[in-house]
């Protein structure tokens, strides 16, 4: 039965409930804190004596005294010798108003890019891998770990990357990170430590993502144009930058592969300029016409920092990525990771190791390749039939497609017209560092129309 006490001054109603599972003292303390926070009790307000309050609520005086002592220790109350107990000056500064984020508008179909088909996530396999990892977890693995990540995952991933990406992957120089975004930040931070002040990036590309990570690391950015062969290495050289972020296997977003000549020219530039290449290997698992080209990192492990992620192959919410570091940069990248968050969660890493080791990861990739290839075919067929003047460019790879607008259409009006029909299309101008001179295009996320509405707070960044 609730017990009430109402007395004055101050005009204070306090209620405690003997039938509640919450102890009486905790209830009373909570009510008093709430009264102070809500402003019902202000600075200097006098509280009833412990005797009066105890009698009023039918509690022991000792309990009320303990409660007052606790709130004094926390700074809510002051008691001067021989005087009343009062609310302390400055005991509570009320916080400002909060606002909830706006709900996203629902779309019939959302061709948002950069996110895999999340319904395809191998939920059962992942849970199996977590269980296996938890079951066999040594007690010591619950401690702070090697900031590079779990040795078991680094071994397994290095083997995978050697096998599938022709990478020169050394587990000692691999750092497990929280997805591509953190990997890029760690890499740029390490470059900043070597005296590099500017990082170049592809245009079109991910100007916002690179700028954010560069800002975090104290670097400035400069765009370099991309043509049918990939990044223009002469234009890169002309910028004077000594670092560049590239997507050689499948350029984001144009979808071209860096040509063999450009690959060698880029490596030559790096050696001559003592420069570093950051290779974003974001979706290399998904190529439908032939094997993807191997990682650039495999050619020059001293000059290339390769960054990978499971955000495209499994799901972004896992937040697992990795860096392959050149020998000279391994120590600063590891130190950055240690200072940043002391390493990624251990159990998730061990689960991923299990998933790859057991062959379940490869099986999942085979299944998703079939799915994405079929969707790409359907998209191309639909465009050929219904919009023959729309030219789709880029490799048969990944889970996005780039279309160039024919005739006199412009990107903004096409995107707006689609939105009027509750269809989410996303223009490529978001991937540009400045308005382009050629025809605008747009980008289809061929995998994600079925993921449902995007989540509040998740911005639509091209990739990370």
């Amino acid at each position: 039965m609730p017990l009430q006490w109402s007395g004055g001054p101050p005009d204070l109603l306090l209620t405690v409930d003997r039938e509640s599972r919450e102890p009486l003292r905790a209830q009373l303390e909570g009510r008093l804190r709430d009264a102070i926070r809500s402003g019902r009790l202000g600075t200097g307000d006098r509280l009833p004596s412990s005797h009066a309050l105890a009698r009023g609520l039918g509690l022991s005086r000792g309990l009320v005294q303990e409660c007052y002592a606790q709130l004094r220790a926390e700074g809510y109350l002051v008691t001067r010798v021989g005087a009343d107990t009062r609310i302390a000056a400055g005991a509570f500064v009320p916080p400002g108003p909060t606002s909830a984020p706006a709900a996203p508008e629902p779309l019939t179909a959302d061709f948002r890019w950069g996110v895999p088909d999340l319904r395809g996530f191998p939920r059962t396999d992942w849970l199996w891998a977590l269980r296996e990892a938890a079951r066999t977890l040594p007690t010591a693995a619950l401690d702070y770990g090697d900031p590079r990540g779990e040795a078991q995952l680094r071994e397994v991933l290095a083997g995978y990357l050697r096998r599938v990406r022709a990478a020169a992957a050394d587990p000692h120089r691999m750092v497990i990170c929280s997805g591509y975004a953190q990997g890029l930040g760690l890499a740029l931070r390490a470059l900043a430590g070597t005296g590099i002040g500017t990082v170049a990036h592809e245009d079109p590309g991910s100007p916002a993502a690179v700028a954010a990570a560069a800002g975090w690391a104290g670097l400035t950015t400069v765009p370099v144009p991309v043509d049918e062969q990939g990044i223009d290495v002469r234009a890169l050289e002309a910028t004077g930058a000594r670092a560049v972020v590239v997507t050689p296997a499948h350029q984001w977003p144009t979808g071209v592969a860096l040509s063999p000549e450009r690959r060698l020219a880029l490596l030559d530039w790096a050696v001559r300029r003592d420069a570093l290449i950051i290779e974003d290997d974001y979706d290399a698992e998904f190529r439908y016409d032939r094997e993807p080209v191997g990682a650039l990192q495999g050619l020059a492990a001293d000059r290339v920092i390769a960054i990978g992620t499971v955000s495209k192959s499994l799901a972004p919410a896992l937040r697992i990525g990795w860096l392959l570091c050149p020998p000279a940069l391994a120590a600063p990248v590891v130190e950055s990771k240690r200072v940043n968050d002391r390493g990624s969660p251990a159990l998730d890493q061990l689960a991923l190791a299990r998933l790859v080791e057991s062959g379940r990861f490869d099986r999942h990739l085979r299944r998703m390749r079939t799915t994405y290839a079929a969707r790409r075919t359907a998209l191309l067929a639909a465009l050929a039939e219904h919009a023959p003047d729309v030219e789709v460019t880029g490799l048969a790879a990944g889970f996005h497609a780039v279309a160039r607008l024919g005739g006199h259409h412009d990107e903004r009006s096409v995107v707006a017209a689609a939105r009027d029909r509750n269809v989410g299309l996303y223009g490529m101008s978001a991937c540009r560092s400045a308005p382009p001179r050629d025809r605008y295009g747009w980008c289809w996320g061929s995998a994600t129309s079925a993921n449902g509405p995007s989540r509040p707070g998740s911005r639509r960044w091209p990739m990370c």
Copy 2:
């Protein structure tokens, strides 16, 4: 049966195995890449014609041609029209040597601080929570999420912190992060954005951890002495700093609680100086003699950034922490988290929400409190019997104890003598920003002697 081809020039031995599960083309590509990387094939070396190599290995010429085309696309090989296929210039820059980390020396007992008893980790409960979270995970939760973290966990944790820590916890202004280290970095980064250039910290305290995070955020640090009442607020004021990191509930490492007068003086300082207080609430769940004092953040949610973690209550390897942000700092902290890693892993967060909601977290804490209290009692009894001149100070709280040395002993020789007996003791001078004037002390991790040898690469930092 392995097939070999050996021809010259170059003097090259290539082997493929028809009985292997690896496709023949992948085998041949792998062998050629390895030969280039290992230096067996150098720049300009001529490869056999596809015809000769195919005949030598008993493969189809088309397969060898595809293999050469792949390696050309990757930049390992060049073929000029009408000429031989050769190893490309700059095709491979060999990486430098790697070194494995040194193995830790084994100890009979290790009183390492800052890590809970990992054998007590509720493995079954955590796996149950993971399973429940995975089972009920909406597909959209596999996407990039709100950088603040999962709404469900923020709601549950805010309720927990209001209940247990008397915090003014608003889930809209809570940010889930990867443990205390990342939380501190994000907080300091946000402060740097407001024009604050220096952050003060307690001395003794965690000078190295604060300095690392401050360096990351571009801030400098200044130490402020701690006495029996906690941080010296007058000395803090004299530094001119407008931000401070404190451990009010249980000062690290001295173990004192910030006195009521100091709590109010600290808040008064913050209001007068327009300063911010970072409250590190690292082990407040563990107090054995009475309830812990409530969080300082509950008194002044506009002036205090509270940071919590499950590293002490569950395990460091989970890498889950949280920040409670004042309204003015919530947006920059969230933006920092987004740029840093786009949010923490979703499934782990949802599992923690389940663990707390289900009451299993509280049950685990009750069990661990009993364990740690008993160990503390045993330690005090053993010291009273065997080393009566060693004075143990600080509250009956947490899972470390601080002992002051009596007589003419000095810290370094006691630590060295213990190490000679294969016992790990850790001196408090690591918690000092400069050699102290008073007697050196040392710190007992009363929970961790049974955790086994520490893991390679995990540094012994007081706390994070």
